[in-house]
Symmetry: C2
Subunit: 137 residues, 2 copies
């Protein structure tokens, strides 16, 4: 501690500061695909193809890119079995499991409150349409 190694924050990280590294991981975590990938891995290790099938709509490119980022940041491990055909397994690390729980809460909230959100949109859109052609004003 107190050495001159890389920029590290010891208790003073603040994601509201643009230069604080914590904003970088926040940007990694606050991402649709990250949330879904980590949520899928919460049930245990999965192969690339299994992940791709579970995350409906994701492309190979985005899945590869997301997994690489998560691996680099220490949230996921990547294990290659040099068989033919190749088998690559992804698993959450201890660090990853912690934050996965927090992300699961947001996903569940989305699923439980989607109707309230859709209702709010209807109200907003109806109000916006009104303003274009006022009924009485």
């Amino acid at each position: 501690m107190g050495t001159t190694d890389n920029l590290r924050f010891h208790g003073g990280a603040d994601a509201y500061l643009a230069a604080c590294p914590s904003r970088q991981i926040l940007d990694v975590l606050a991402n649709k695909w990250t949330m879904l990938v980590m949520g899928a891995l919460a049930g245990g290790p999965l192969r690339f193809g299994e992940l791709r099938r579970r995350l409906e709509g994701i492309t190979q490119k985005m899945l590869t890119q997301t997994l690489r980022t998560l691996e680099r940041d220490g949230l996921v491990t990547r294990t290659v079995y040099p068989t033919i055909p190749p088998k690559v397994q992804y698993a959450a690390t201890g660090l990853g499991e912690n934050v996965t729980e927090l992300m699961r809460a947001i996903r569940v909230w989305s699923e439980e409150n989607i109707n309230a959100v859709l209702d709010a949109r209807d109200v907003y859109d109806a109000r916006a349409a009104e303003e274009v052609q006022p009924v009485t004003a």
Copy 2:
């Protein structure tokens, strides 16, 4: 209930399905600026300029766009005081306050675990540099 109004899910929402509307809000919530905006509003209503100063690095355009989306989805209210100069206040709704707590947990995790993530990156990057020019292999 049980009517033929718009597509609504009654207990069966699943963000892993591309067509499920819950993925749409997940995409709104799983966003760096959304997390920071909602977190800032957790302390009470704020004006546009106050938000802009707190969220270091955000542009007026992105802040406006983020706030519009959150307003439309019922997470934030927008109140205009037609004074000169204009005063526009934003506040979290009840719906928004619920999910703000969940997002705060992720922001705090980012701030508390940033060093572990930075360390993981160093290891990953060093390993990647090795593979380009193997020392012994």
